[in-house]
Amino acid sequence: MNLALSDEQVFLREAARGALSRFKTLEAAREALENEGALPDLWPTACEAGWPGLLIDEQHGGAGLDAFDAMLVLSECGRVIAGIALLGHLPATAILNDSPGGSPVLADLASGERRAAYLPVSPPNDLGEGWTADPAHGARRAPAPTATAAGDGVSVSVSGELAFVPDAPGADVLVGVAILDGRPVGVCIDASADGVTVERVTRYDATRSLGHVSLKDAPATLLDAPEEALAGAWYLAQSLLAAESLGSVEVALDVSVEYAKERHTFGRAIGSYQAVKHGLTEVLRQLENGRSLLYYAGWARDGAPGEFPLAASAARSVAGRALDEASRTMISVHGGIGATWEHDAPLFFRRAQLSRRLLGGTGLATDRVAGELFLQADAA
């Protein structure tokens, strides 16, 4: 048994931290709330580091690494609230990489010359719900049906509405799941094709690039990715978002702890008071628990694929709650100033609140954990 980072993984993490430290991402995140142009373009940095090709096999020009390595990079992005289009790009490349017929765009996607976005679709659960997408609005955000495909042969046309798609604006290629004759199929769509509309939407956290994607008989290439790969992309996206969130928790906790050591009231540091100390320890508890689940998800994707839905959903559920708790604690430990633009805490809070509502929301992930465990119990 060995559940620890390898030397290569430590190096990957340190290199990512170094590369991202060259940018003032937090200042940019604040300024971007009023001026979207303030965000630095981090994609060239990602390309230089080889991140776009992390999950693409070496024969197609990628690094051929696994999900846990990608999670380490996302975690570093989360630490500095960096807006890099990896959350959309990486699950898309995973589907293409798992399509035996391959794809002519893989090499360009591996180098980062072109960028992909994953159209998130949640696989059926234990209650037999079909493949569903996030709706843009609606009571309790009941899941909407996903896109449908029509036609035969390798070229099909796809129609459907997908809301809040991460990193869709500016993507060259859209990769997702559509229903063809009642069966889920992988589809690859050129974003510049007729019938494709991507409406940029900004919500609460300006570093998060989102788009409403509308497909009206959009021409698409049919992929021969197996159904597990289509479902796997959803769970990969859940894992990546979990990793990114926990990266943010790490920094929110560190900053809060440092302040609790420095700030004195009634003659002693506020971190010596149990009320403050226990609140920070609770953040640490949730962080460590979530980190263990990242290991679970990272191991399960290849080591126990049948458990990947459970592992990734549990990681997402715990990480989402951890970031909410961490950002609220960060604000309260800093007192009133923590709730103002003078401080970075609101940026972590904004990140937390929006992240928890994307990709099915933390709630859908939590529900999936119960459902997967029911299925395990049925099989036992």
Binding site: M1, L3, A269, L280, L284, Y295, S313, V318, V369
Partner: protein, 405 residues
């Protein structure tokens, strides 16, 4: 990163599994059809089974071979525990002795103590109990008041009271923390003793818990005579010796994890059997939150094992896993009782005992508040609360505490 056995570990697992297959018919049946009911019979059968496990090398896996152990590492201990659980047979009776007190004697005891006590402990012939906590010394363990006084002939006289003592009702010996010098600061005047539980002046009284069962005891010592040579680890060194025991307790808890039965799989299975409950969005949400956290604990355990196998000692953060287990098991009991209604609280229910046991477990092995203090200070590096007891002789402390109140 992997969760698989190395070839050596796989060979060890196969060896343990073979032994269990060959010997499991000798194991006492404690649950289900044919289960033993008489307390004395159960005790005798479990002692005998521990002896058998010890002969087979399945007890004291991490003990050095010179004391009858296998000289193996924590990973092998976990493999052994897993295989015992898989075989559906009970583990050793004296987990406290073999897991915590024996290793303390191995670390700090005199040679005569090791040769006299360790063998019978390992084989279950003499069960041990841990006599540390007192009514006024729990979280603040160094405040123990049980008093041992040296006599002219080298023997000691012991008076005082201990509490929360598991297995005291049938233990042969106890490892006891007593104050031997009240005129020095409280951590300095402590000494660890071996106490025969059948000595004149020792009284054991069961302590009934919420469920009605008495798993713990109060133990009273009324001028009990302890022979010369009863001291473990030197006079005045009791605090350091106690820390060793507590370190082994953390290891035991860290490796135990889901051994307490509070697992995501078990809770989910209980609800999966109810076709309406498993469709209910609120039930699913509550269960999903609970089980996510418990799944995390399972993998925190693997992280702890990885650290142990690299020779690192688990730090106080292992305590965070205990907080997670207990708080989520409480929520799981609550959820199941909401689903099943008052019947869940009946003694015949599979959940009644757990529901009754958990409120007390919040305080066991370090209260949740103390764990959070310790972790906040040692892991996060936050400053401690101001203390009133630093550097003050224990004898002056109580009057000072009284004045502060």
């Amino acid at each position: 990163m992997d969760l698989d056995d190395t070839p050596d570990q796989a060979a060890y697992r196969a060896q343990v599994r073979t032994w269990l297959e060959q010997n499991k018919s000798a194991a006492p049946i404690l649950q289900g059809p044919g289960a033993l009911e008489d307390e004395a019979e159960i005790l005798a059968a479990r002692r005998a089974w521990q002896g058998k496990l010890a002969e087979g090398g399945l007890a004291g896996v991490t003990w050095p071979t010179e004391f009858g152990g296998q000289g193996l590492g924590p990973i092998e201990q976990v493999i052994c525990n897993q295989e015992i659980a898989r075989a559906g047979v009970p583990g050793i009776l004296d987990a406290i002795g073999v897991g915590m007190l024996g290793p303390t004697i191995i670390a700090h005891g005199a040679d005569e103590q090791k040769s006299r006590y360790l063998g019978p402990m390992l084989h279950g012939d003499e069960v041990w109990c841990q006599l540390f906590s007192e009514p006024a010394a729990g979280s603040d363990l160094a405040a123990v008041q049980a008093r041992a006084r040296l006599q002219d002939d080298g023997s000691w006289r012991l008076s005082g009271q201990k509490v929360w003592t598991t297995n005291a009702q049938f233990a042969s010996y106890g490892l006891l923390l007593a104050r031997t010098d009240a005129d020095v600061p409280k951590h300095k005047g402590l000494t660890m003793f071996i106490v025969p539980m059948d000595a004149a002046g020792v009284t054991v009284r069961g302590l009934r818990q919420i469920s009605g069962e008495a798993e713990f005891n109060e133990v009273f010592f009324d001028d009990v005579s302890l022979e010369p040579g009863s001291v473990v680890g030197g006079v005045g060194n009791g605090w350091g010796t106690a820390l060793t025991t507590l370190m082994f307790e953390r290891v035991t808890i860290g490796l135990g994890g889901e051994g307490m039965g509070y697992s995501s799989t078990r809770f989910a299975a209980a609800i999966a059997a109810d076709p309406e409950a498993r469709r209910d969005p609120e039930v699913r949400h509550r269960l999903g939150e609970i089980t996510s956290e418990l799944l995390g604990v399972r993998f925190t355990g693997y992280r702890t094992l990885t650290a142990l196998s690299k020779g690192q000692i688990p730090g106080p953060e292992a305590g965070l896993a205990k907080v997670t287990i207990v708080s989520n098991a409480i929520k799981a009991g609550d959820l199941i009782a909401d689903i099943e209604g008052p019947d869940a609280l009946e003694p015949s229910s599979a959940w009644s005992y757990m529901i009754s046991f958990l409120p007390g477990l919040k305080s066991a092995g370090g209260t949740e508040e103390i764990l959070r203090n310790t972790i906040g200070e040692r892991v996060l590096g936050l400053p401690p609360e101001p203390r009133l007891d630093k550097g003050i002789p224990f004898s002056e402390l109580r009057s000072k505490e009284g004045a502060a109140a």
